[in-house]
Amino acid sequence: MSGSQTERSEIQSEIDEEIAFHLEEAVRERVAAGLPEDVARASAVADFGNVGKVRIACQRQRLWRDHMMQRFHMTLTLFLALCTGFFALQWARAHGARQAAVEAQQALISASKAAEVLRPERATRQDLTRYAVGDTLRIVDMVEPDRFHFAQQIRVDGMILMPDIGWVRAEGMTRQALSDELNRAMSPYHVNPPQFEISLEEPSLHRVPPVSSITVAAEDSIRFADPVRPDEWSGEVRVQPDGTCLFPVIGRLQVAGVTRPDLEALVRERMALFYRDGHSEALIDIVKAPR
């Protein structure tokens, strides 16, 4: 196999840089011709076409050996997969586009770990009545368990990431209070609102206060996803030594020293310039590099 993880990451980074350059040149030319910048950006993206599909097509050309081996493997296993594929298709049709958005968010949140323990105190039975940084919660929708059923770890800043509603404070909340908060926040998004049952799947060994101002640093990784366009805008990038990061579509941003909420706001503002409907729900998660 020719595509090691590092090689894939480098190839993807080069593809993104090439596309970002194209869009910037297109915007520059349109602005020079007298168009306002926001109109120039929207026109450049429209003329470019579907950025996500172009990225995938370029990746396939660059990693064509891996791609051919994958196709061969898929052909061999197709017969066995046929029966389960039929039932999966029935289920996927029922949950359709909604699942794509939920999976994009779950991919973003699935592997994060709490870090930076400050003044640790060992957990006691009394402490467990209120959630703390590092606790892993099991969140299930009792109305339709297939709709929401996942585990979430409370981040260093005391937040958890929920589909539809984004970041929610969980640190310091009791089980009932958090459940009521999630039910209240989710109800406008669903005809048949969920009723969440929350359980403490694994408590953090140490009870520590949340850190509100975690900032991005060089060598950290940033996971990103936009539930509005999950196929086109999701992935992970490494922060360069100069403190910048290259994102698809919106290009290179200075991210070192920026907190997660501020970075999220900045990314959403930039994304809105590139899409005609001006709407983005981009989500950002910071994965700290070991130090």
Partner: protein, 108 residues
């Protein structure tokens, strides 16, 4: 503007690059300009085609600074690409002559 006839993108890209190395955006602009805006390429489709032609050995690429100082990937023809261009042009001429004969029009 009209969509490109099927199978002509490779020929057009190879032809544009015979004049020298260019990045993807410059190739798209040159195509539009030379065809006087008649031929339209959905700009993003250029890049998978460029990567495919590089994989086949018709093009080679390198990262360089452009005239505004920004880093860009420049593509140029290889010897194999030049041979491919000659062959494709011959084939194109033969095809258009044949179409012209059927239509009763001189397309030479």
């Amino acid at each position: 503007m009209e969509a490109l006839p099927a199978g002509t993108l490779d020929l057009l890209v190879l032809s544009v690059l015979r004049k020298g190395a260019m990045h993807g955006y410059a190739i798209v602009s040159r195509l539009k300009e030379t065809s006087e805006e008649v031929l339209a390429v959905e700009e993003g489709t250029m890049y998978p085609a460029l990567h495919r032609m590089e994989r086949k050995g018709w093009l080679e690429s390198e990262w360089r600074k452009n005239d505004t100082g920004r880093r860009a990937r420049f593509y140029s023809l290889t010897a194999e690409g030049k041979a491919r261009l000659l062959k494709a042009k011959k084939h194109w001429k033969a095809r258009t002559k044949a179409v012209g004969r059927v239509l009763g029009v001189d397309l030479a």
